[in-house]
């Protein structure tokens, strides 16, 4: 008998006759949201390992383009024969690195893990609205992972037309080897991924809307839930458009239609395609592609809101403004896609419109950054590893966000479009920031997931090397971009003009290797702590949210007895009583959400 089959409002979820789940039910085809969260996390981390390893190979190639390295032959086989990296595999690596990091690690790994773990626990529900759909969502994701990784083992190599897979390059195997079977596998993998993402998102939305416990109004929700909720909505709005673009591309590739292709002469022959436009594909792709940035980022911002408030021992500053910013960012994110296309050949007037909407996004983003900083102000900061990563996120989010003002301006984009300036910008604002959010979330909710604590000292080392390395990689990178260095170049030695940038490229690569190496501390800490970490107490971070009222041992239905009722918002940290003599609960600087309003306190924020 599974929990999902029960009415979730039922407070007496655990009747007698509950049989022990078998190994398969418990660990593999589990419908329990906590187990599915762990499955997402571990799968996402494995994909992250692969994705980061790919970037290391690229950095090795970019730093020493004319040297040979045996590692190429070991890892890339015939594409790295005699230690020389093949140009086609370089493009494949950059394509699959982008695809894996954006979709598999930062969408599924981040949102999948924490939405699943936290939505039921923080809103006070026994499980997701549909446990079965949730399980299906994970297994589709797992299949998709297998398909995308398997594309490395096909004869002509995996998809290699960039993670944006613009046609005609991605449509014509004559144009590049990777556009054969490799590209088909990419499309299949992404199609399955979209299905998985939609199943997950719909589930999150329904759960947040319908299964909140008594007293948990929308304005009492922790910001994590707001972020996951809005992220799911953006996903439902934009992922189907990617699916449409992918299907049309598939039809152009396999059935001879001409949605995106026209007037093509390649390898001595004119193709029959007529009347399509690659620009149409770009519009469809970026209609997902840009919201995707926020699908990646918003959960990270939600996670850090929660962690910063908890560890500052202060309420998040401007709770309602934070919600408004999330909503504003979500809305604006769907009307800015054209800023990826300023020089695509679309009408320049459209460029003006997209410049306008794009720069508007800076306003809610700025509000969020300022609110974080004010939350830190006059706090009593508990510098746990999760908190360090959260502060790190605010820092990289600001640095990366600011250069967006240059890229979002159609005029300025002309000369830095598709250069390393762009690479530096989006890695900081989206890649590094979201990864920090992921790490923050793991360090913070590890006790909830595995019932044990991660080692804090290893966490500190992990954070500081990563923080130094990430800036060391991406800050100087802006400058080689300003020099006009194009992205997706296998090597720069064909242009003597770029010779004096070689040292900077080496510097960046060295930082990259050190940073990647630092992740091994995390890997060790993560695996070791699962088995040998110190046993966690129920509420190690002295947090107000409902997940910390559940027992450390995972049980079906989350709470052994009744679901707790909620009486207050989730940010009553360091709140004083009316006389200002002591905290509301004497000697305890936080009031959990399930504690009724006390006589000696003023109610906030209703």
């Amino acid at each position: 008998m599974s929990v999902a089959a029960q009415p979730l409002a039922n407070d007496h979820a655990h009747e007698e006759g509950h049989h022990e789940p078998t190994f398969i039910e418990k660990y593999i085809f589990s419908t329990d949201h906590k187990m599915i969260a762990k499955q997402y996390l571990i799968t996402g981390l494995i994909m992250g390992f692969i994705g980061i390893a790919m970037s290391m190979l690229m950095r090795l190639q970019l730093a020493w383009p004319n040297e040979t390295f045996w590692i190429y032959e070991v890892l890339l086989g015939k594409f790295g024969e005699d230690g020389v990296m093949d140009p086609s595999i370089y493009l494949a690596l950059s394509t699959i690195h982008g695809t894996i990091m954006i979709f598999y690690v930062l969408t599924a790994g981040l949102s999948g893990t924490f939405s699943n773990l936290l939505i039921p626990l923080q809103i006070g529900a026994r499980d997701m609205a549909s446990g079965f759909m949730n399980m299906l969502s994970y297994w589709l994701f797992a299949i998709s992972c297998v398909v995308i990784v398997s594309s490395f083992f096909v004869e002509a190599g995996p998809a290699s037309s960039g993670w944006t897979v613009y046609p005609p390059l991605s449509a014509l195997p004559q144009a590049i080897g990777g556009s054969g079977l490799g590209m088909t596998l990419w499309l299949v993998a992404i199609t399955i991924f979209v299905a998985s993402s939609l199943l997950g998102s719909l589930n999150y939305i329904v759960t947040v809307l319908n299964l909140r416990t008594q007293g948990m109004t929308m304005t009492r929700l922790p910001l994590t839930i707001w972020a996951f909720f809005v992220t799911a909505i953006i996903g439902v709005v934009s992922f189907p458009v990617l699916l449409a673009a992918g299907l049309l591309l598939l039809m152009d590739r396999s059935f001879g239609t001409s949605f995106f292709l026209s007037d093509i002469y390649i390898q001595g022959e004119v193709l029959s395609y007529q009347g399509g436009s690659p620009v149409l594909y770009e519009h469809l792709f970026w209609f997902l592609g840009h919201p995707e940035v926020y699908i990646v980022l918003l959960p990270a911002l939600g996670i850090t809101s929660e962690i910063i408030a908890t560890n500052s021992r202060k309420p998040i500053f401007g709770y309602r403004a934070m919600i408004a910013s999330i909503l504003a960012i979500a809305f604006l994110s769907t009307v800015v896609w054209g800023h990826h296309m300023f020089v695509s050949g679309m009408n320049p007037f459209l460029g003006s419109v997209f410049t306008f909407t794009t720069l508007l996004i800076a306003i809610p983003s700025g509000v969020k950054a300022f609110n974080y900083i004010t939350t830190l102000w006059k706090g009593n900061l508990q510098l746990n590893p999760g908190m360090l990563f959260s502060i790190g996120l605010v820092s990289t989010f600001v640095t990366g966000g600011l250069t967006g003002i240059i890229l979002g301006d159609s005029t300025l984009d002309i000369n830095v479009h598709d250069t390393y300036f762009v690479i530096a910008h989006f890695h900081l604002v989206m890649g590094i920031s979201a990864l920090y959010g992921l790490f923050a979330g793991i360090y913070h909710w590890f006790p909830k997931m595995f019932g044990r604590m991660m080692n804090k000292n290893l966490g500190y080392v992990h954070f500081w090397i990563t923080a130094i390395g990430a800036y060391g990689i991406f800050f100087p990178m802006h400058f080689i971009g300003m020099a006009g260095l194009p992205r997706r170049y296998y090597k720069f030695t064909e242009f003597p003009y770029f010779d004096d940038l070689a040292d900077t490229n080496i510097l960046i690569s060295v930082f990259a290797f050190i940073t990647a190496g630092a992740q091994l501390f995390f890997v060790y800490n993560f695996i070791h702590s699962i088995f040998y970490g110190k046993k966690a107490e129920r509420n190690p971070w002295r947090s107000t949210t409902l997940e910390w009222t559940t027992p450390v041992e995972h049980i079906h239905g989350n709470w052994p007895g009744e679901i707790p009722k909620v009486y207050r918002w989730s940010y009553d940290y360091s709140k004083m009583n009316k006389e200002d003599t002591d905290y509301i609960i004497p000697g305890q600087d936080y009031v959990p959400q399930n504690v009724p309003i006390q006589e000696n306190e003023e109610e906030m924020n209703e």
Binding site: Y265, S277, P348, N380, S395, D409, A467, I468, E494, G517
Partner: protein, 350 residues
């Protein structure tokens, strides 16, 4: 250089391993407090680490601006001055904000690090503050947007006059061709379906306008004359990126895109500019010590170039065309020496 770096990396790895072993030792539960929750000591130490990190971050920013901003390529087109001004205003503004905000983040992380007995301030809301940091970005961004849009429409709306030189830039895997309209000042009709033999760009041979078109593999431009480029691709997406002229436009199969600029500095002038002399001397120094280069590759002389900036296939990294900006007389002399399309087809039929 490489050997040095390998040693450096090896040394860093060594330090890393040493550190790991030290941390393992530290992570053993010797102390009584093994809760793995930050205690007072951790807060003190990590708070101070934020100060150290601030020094690193500001050092890195200063180093980057000091050492690397020289890579910013000099402008050589009429609108590049306007472009650079907007760029530097934006850059100045964001660096101003960056310097302040990063300081606040890291300073607060240090200053308010947890201490035993310290009470956090319950401070949940302040409409006035939030209004301020909404309205200031609104005003600044409005100014930037308006400024940017004026430049944008000026750059993008090229008016074709008598004087404008119309040049087609033709892209294919993995090279470029330029097509000049010849004496009739009109580019002949073209489509990939006409491609055959020497007719590499698919010109319509029965179109009289096509006969005097001139196809070249170098792009020559007369200085101070507006040029309007029409871009055409025969296979996949490419992007024509002219970094020194602050110009870029994607080249899209199936449609013609356009971009215009007026070159203002001849190749000779920029080669002799102080910036370029210094830069080329430095590059030649690097090339002299590069053992991978043949003796004839050692010496480099600056030429403008056009490069492909949209992933287009395996040789994407080497899809370039030389650009020569010269005086009107030099240009006329050069263009008159070139073969017209009519001459080319006649020659191949013989």
């Amino acid at each position: 250089m490489t050997a040095l770096l390998i040693i450096l990396v090896a040394a860093l790895l060594g330090i890393t391993i040493w550190q790991i072993s030290k941390i393992f030792k530290l992570s053993q539960p010797i102390e009584s407090d093994d809760s793995q929750i930050a205690n007072n000591k951790d807060n003190q130490k990590q708070g101070k680490m934020f100060l150290v990190f601030t020094v690193f971050l500001y050092g890195l920013m200063i180093y980057s601006f000091w050492e690397l901003s020289k890579f910013y390529a000099p402008g050589a087109s009429a609108h590049s001055e306007d472009y650079d001004q907007l760029f530097f205003i934006s850059l100045g503004l964001i660096m101003f904000v960056q310097v302040i905000i990063q300081f606040l983040i890291h300073w607060f992380a240090y200053k308010y690090r947890g201490k035993e007995g310290q009470k956090a301030l319950f401070y949940a809301d302040n409409d006035k503050l939030e209004f301020i940091w909404t309205i200031i970005p609104v005003i600044t961004l409005a100014a930037l947007i308006i400024y940017g849009l004026f430049s944008w429409s000026e750059i993008m709306n090229v008016e074709e006059t008598e004087d404008t030189l119309v040049v087609e830039i033709y892209a294919y895997q993995f090279d470029w061709r330029a097509r000049y309209s010849g004496s009739d000042k009109t580019l002949g009709e073209a489509n990939v379906r006409f491609i055959e033999g020497v007719n590499q760009l698919g010109l319509n041979e029965s179109d009289p306008y096509a006969q005097d078109d001139i196809i070249t593999s170098e792009l020559h431009l007369p200085v101070d004359r507006p040029v309007l480029f029409k871009f055409r691709s025969q296979d996949v997406l490419h992007s024509a990126y002219f970094p020194f002229f602050r110009s870029q436009m994607n080249v899209v199969p199936g449609m013609t895109t356009q971009f215009g600029f007026t070159p203002t500095t001849t190749s000779k002038e920029i080669r002799n500019s102080e910036y370029m002399v210094e830069k080329v001397r430095n590059i030649n120094e690097i090339r002299k010590n590069n053992d991978n280069l043949g003796p004839d590759e050692k010496s480099y002389e600056f030429e403008y170039y056009l490069l492909c900036n949209k992933i287009c296939g395996v040789s994407h990294y080497n899809m370039q065309m030389k650009i020569v900006v010269e005086t009107e007389e030099e240009y006329q002399k050069w263009i008159n020496e070139q073969q017209t399309f009519g001459e080319l087809t006649a020659q191949s039929q013989n």
